[in-house]
Structure formats: C-alpha cells, structure tokens
C-alpha cells in the first residue's frame, strides 16, 4: 500500500464519517438531556430531501443546509411533544418517527428524483494548510460542512463540560427531579435539546444529498441513522469520541472497497459491514463495567419521561 493510497483511504474516511458525525452529535445532545430519539434515520431523510429541494430552488446550497436543519428540528419537535409533554414511550415514538420520516421524505421528494443540483457543496482547499504533507490532503481538502464539523466538535465539548448551560443540560439528563428542584426548567430545556438534536440529524442528511452523493434518492441514508445511534453508545456520549468513532466507522466503509480494488481479499466485505456494530457491542460491555465504578455511561434518566408529580 503506497502512502497515496493510505491518504486516499483516510480522506474518504472523513467524508464517509461526516454524515454519521452530525447525526451522532445531534443524538448525543438529545440523549444528554435525557431523551432518547431513535428517529435519527427519519430526521436525516427529511433533512436530506428538504435540503436538496431548497438548494435546487434557490441555487444556494447553504439555504439548503439551513432548511435541512429546520426540517430535522421540526421532525424532532413531534418527538418532543409526544415524549416530553405527553410522556409517551420514547422508543416507540422514535421508531415511529423513523417510519414517518421515511414515508414523508419519499412523498416530498417525488418531484426531486432525477434532478441534478445546480450547485452543491464543493471541495475547498484551505490555503497553506492543505499543502501540509499527510494532514493537508486528509483534513483540509474537504467541503465546508466538514470544516464546520471541525469547529462544532470542540465547541460542543466546551459547552458540555465547561459552561453552566452544559451542566444544566447534563443535570436534566442525569436527574431531572434534582435539576427541577434547583429551578432548572426541565421541560423547556428537554424541548430545546431534542429540537437542536433533530436539526443536527437534518444537517447530517443534507450532507448526503448536497455533498456526498449529491442527489436525492428515496431512502438514500441506507441505515446510516442507525449507525449514528450505535455510534452514540460507542462514543460514550462524548462529542470528541463521536468524531473519532465516526471517522473510524467511515474508514471501515472506505477501506472495504479499497482493499477489494487493490485485490486484497483477506477480509470478507460482509465482515467489514458488521464491524461498526461489533465495536458498539464491545464498547457497551466495557462501558457497562466502567459505569459500575461510576465513571462514565449513559445519562441516568435516559429514556425516562419526567413527571413532576411522580416523586
């Protein structure tokens, strides 16, 4: 394997990992606030179709990205209403959101099939940085949404662990009753984080339809929403680990084909496809053991609707 080929695999890993990263970051935000939303696949699809429609209509891919975020957020607000206000079962509601999103995006996308977007998110070479050997071609010859994700990950990390807002967010996810008793508005904040999480998933979908593919086709996420859900567990609800995880999962995708193209057939492609889930199971096992030592793990109140009157 030459260095060019390795660089190509790593650069492709970042492209393949970026939609997973956006979706996983959104799910981390939502889950940190104590709401589990399994509708990621549906929100990504609706984001992808609305992003593509608006980008085609306006000729500006950035309006498309914004529309995708809005659409993802709107989808998530359905989930928020059902699970936070009505206290419905979060798993059931999330699964329904996925099925609903799949159908809705197919319906909305009918007129968009077969259209080529006039302008999509193009690759931008960052001056100076892109000529660094190794790192340049891998990290800095990407499109703008990838660069945006480089900024968002550290910002989210700071928000989670270094700000009052992040502390409140984690508090409502760990112990909403305690958070409520010190005056944090649990219902309002859970709404906000669920909707913001949906917006991220929408952008992840738009990355597929505006930068990665770039076209609209029904069901184009092809299960990436579920990998993102697995990735959240893999990353142990941490944005930085989510970044590494998504590039790892993306890299497995990218490597599989390149090994085949190079004529290396040691590993079955079926096995490679299975790897993200195997990694997730392994991390689940490790995380469970660690959480026994009260180090890290799922937010304490994850999946539990908060009811003030039920103490």
């Amino acid at each position: 394997m030459t260095s060019d080929q390795i660089i190509a695999i790593l650069a492709a890993a970042i492209v393949a990992g970026t939609p997973l990263l956006y979706a996983a970051l959104g799910e981390i935000i939502t889950e940190r606030a104590g709401v589990i939303n399994l509708g990621v696949e549906g929100m990504m699809l609706v984001g992808a179709v609305s992003g593509f429609t608006v980008a085609v209509g306006t000729g500006n891919p950035w309006f498309g990205v914004m529309a995708a975020a809005a659409a993802g957020g709107a989808m998530a607000s359905i989930h928020a209403f059902l699970t936070i206000s009505l206290r419905a079962n979060q798993v059931v509601s999330g699964l329904a959101l996925t099925i609903f999103g799949t159908g809705l995006s197919g319906f909305l996308g009918k007129p968009m099939v077969g259209i080529v977007a006039p302008k999509t998110l193009a690759v931008i070479n960052v001056p100076a940085l892109s000529s660094i050997p190794w790192l340049g071609p891998i990290l800095f010859r990407q499109d703008a949404l990838v660069y945006l994700s480089y900024l968002i990950v550290p910002l989210l990390w700071c928000y989670f662990y270094r700000t009052r807002g992040g502390l409140n967010m984690r508090a409502i996810g760990e112990n909403p009753a305690a958070a409520d008793s010190v005056g944090i508005n649990v219902f309002f904040l859970r709404y906000v984080y669920t909707v913001v999480g949906g917006a991220f998933a929408g952008v992840g979908g738009a990355y597929l339809s505006l930068a990665y593919a770039p076209t609209w086709l029904e069901n184009m996420t092809a299960g990436r929403g579920w990998i993102a859900v697995a990735l959240v567990i893999f990353a142990m609800w941490d944005p930085v680990k989510a970044m590494l995880g998504s590039y790892l999962f993306g890299g497995i995708d990218a490597m599989g084909f390149r090994l085949q193209a190079m004529g290396i057939n040691v590993i079955s492609p079926f096995f490679l496809k299975m790897l993200p889930y195997i990694f997730t199971v392994i991390v689940l096992i490790i995380a469970t053991r660690k959480s026994l030592k009260k180090h890290i793990g799922a937010p304490g109140a994850l999946g539990l609707p908060y009811d003030r009157e039920e103490r």
């Binding site: 059931v92 159908g103 197919g106 086709l217």
Partner: protein, 386 residues
Amino acid sequence: MKGKKKLLLLAGVLLLAVFLVAGCGGGSSDNQSANKQPAEENNASTGENNEAKDEPLKIGFIYIGPVGDAGWTYAQDLGRQYLEENMNVETTFIENVPENADAERALTQLAEQGNKLIFATSFGYMDYVQNVAKKYPDVVFMHCSGFKTQDNAGTYFGRMYQPRYLTGILAGEMTESNTIGYVAAHPIPEVIRGINSFTLGVRAVNPDAIVKVVWTNTWYDPATEKEAAKSLLESGADVIAQHQDTPGPQQAAQEAGAYAIGYNADMRQFAPQATLTSPIWNWGPYMLEVAQGVEDGTWKNDQYWGGLADNVVDVGPFNEDLVSKELQDEIMAKKQDIIDGKVTVFAGPIKDQSGTVKVADGEVMSDGDLLSFDWFVEGVEGKIPQ
C-alpha cells in the same frame, strides 16, 4: 394520576398510529387515487352501452423500490406507462413492497381489486407469487427473474448480458489506462454473468485491458456505491461500469474526470460529462404482448428470457459529445450481429481467471450454465465472495 397518564400515553400512541398510516400510505395512495378517475369514467361509459369489450383490462404491479429510483423499478414503471398509452388498460401499482409476507398481502390486494394480470417485479417475490396464484386461478401472474411457474403464473426476464457485452466493447475502446472498474452489487449469477459478458466485450477489442471488480452488497445505496467507484478510480480505473440502481458510480466518475456506463435506464442526466451510455431494459413492448395475450386468452405460462432480438434489452442512447460516430456504428453493427445470431456472447473459447479453458472452442454455454454462473472469466480482477 395513573389513569391520566395512561390516557395521555394512549393519545400519544393513537397520534403515532395516524402518522404511521400517513407515512406508509403516502407513496402509493396518491397514485391509486390518480388512477381511479379514468376507472370511474370507464364504468360510467360501460354502464351506458353495456359492452364488455370497452372494459379496460385491469393490470396490477408490485415494485421493490420507488418508481423514482432512476433504475430497476423506474424501468419497470416505464413498461407500465407504455401499456397505458398503447392499450385500453387500467393499471395500479404498489411501490416499496418488501420481499417478505407483505408481498403476499400486496398481491392478494391487487387480485381482490379485480386485476386480471399482475406483474411482480422482483426476484424475492417468487414464492409469494406462487402462493397467491394458487388462490386466484383466474388471474395471470408474471414474475420477473424467477424460475417457478404454474398454470396461471409465468416468468419473464431479459438477456441483459447482451447489451452489457456491447458496453464492454465501448469501455474497451475508451479506456486509456487499460483498467476498467466495475461496481458489482450482490454475488448472484445475474451480476456475475453481467461482469463476464462485459469483460468479454472489453477483451474482444482490447485484450490487454482488465476489469476490476468491487462488491458493495447493495442494490440501492448511492453514497456507498459512489464510494466503491471512487476506490476503483483511485486504483487506476478510467471507465466505471455498475450493476446498482443508482447513479452514484457515474457521479464519482464525473468528479474524477473519468467515463462511466450506467444501467437500467438512460442515466446520462445524472452525470452528463461522464456517462457514455447505459444497457437498458425495455419492458413496454413485451408487457403489451403479455397483456394482449391475457385479453385474447392466448397467454401461456412461459419462462420468457428475451434478448436484443426481442427488444427487451438494448443499449441506451449514446453520449454524442463523448462517443464518436465510428464507435457508435461499430457497436450498432455488433448489436445487429448478435440479433442475427452471427455473434454469441458466451461462445468458446472462454478461459477462467486461472487461464483454464472452461468453454472449448466451438462450444456455446447453455442457458442452464448461464443461469448458474459462479466463476469469473479471464480478465476480471477480483473474487466472488463466498
């Protein structure tokens, strides 16, 4: 308190149920209603003059994907539209029918609605078609790509390997690096046969060229298929062929400044600077023949496998900017040779990847051998996953 909570939960679940119904039904309900109008008009007219002849033949379709997939299902749906235009028929289709017990329900629904002919357009519907056909002996079932028949159920498929051979010739002429990439779908005989015939076409005009194969194990995942094509382009391929139902591989080729060959239907619009042509399905005339046979009562439960001569498969329109007139003529001449029987794609001598002669000079592979293809011919670089 508990009672109120339960009530809220119930309300939530009911609301979800509404969404679910809306989500699932969204695709098919609108086109069914679109087809209702002509039905009502026709009923009204038959009511007036009471002539059975005027009643349109009702035909149902079940599709594996959305009609807008730009590939397999789109090609089948073009056949349905051809029927609507050329015959007094009333068609109904149901999209996104999975290859499980849902297919049996969809087929039953179409039979109950009074369709006299039903096309099931994916391999995995095979056993469900057989089950439903037993229950509705008056309805004719046509199953695409399967191998089971009964009195009222036949199969149909096309010799896609013939146009693939022709596109192989084109790829062999166009390549400069002598490396051609092939994004393969699932390791089944149909896909392997396509790769082999394509490679034979390539090697017929360019014996030095090789065809590199990468498996995606998908039919429909534009991002993954594009990624697979990229990996082939990075390893030196300058023409990309494919077997999936999306234009992902062609878009990868366009971005890399390489050429591509589509599949299923004319795919030039998705990558106008890369797509040379596409081997395409042309179901319309055949479906019309079947429908006419059902109407006249002459239909038989054949296992139909039509080729270029029957116009079921074809080479799609060429990209005039990229493919020279001489090259187009060369391929069209070869097409005529295949139609006339002067050229047979799988005629010996054919060697396998190790160089062993598998089909001796003067021999021709039988349809049985073709339908169970499980080895690659010489010139293919890649392995069939076990």
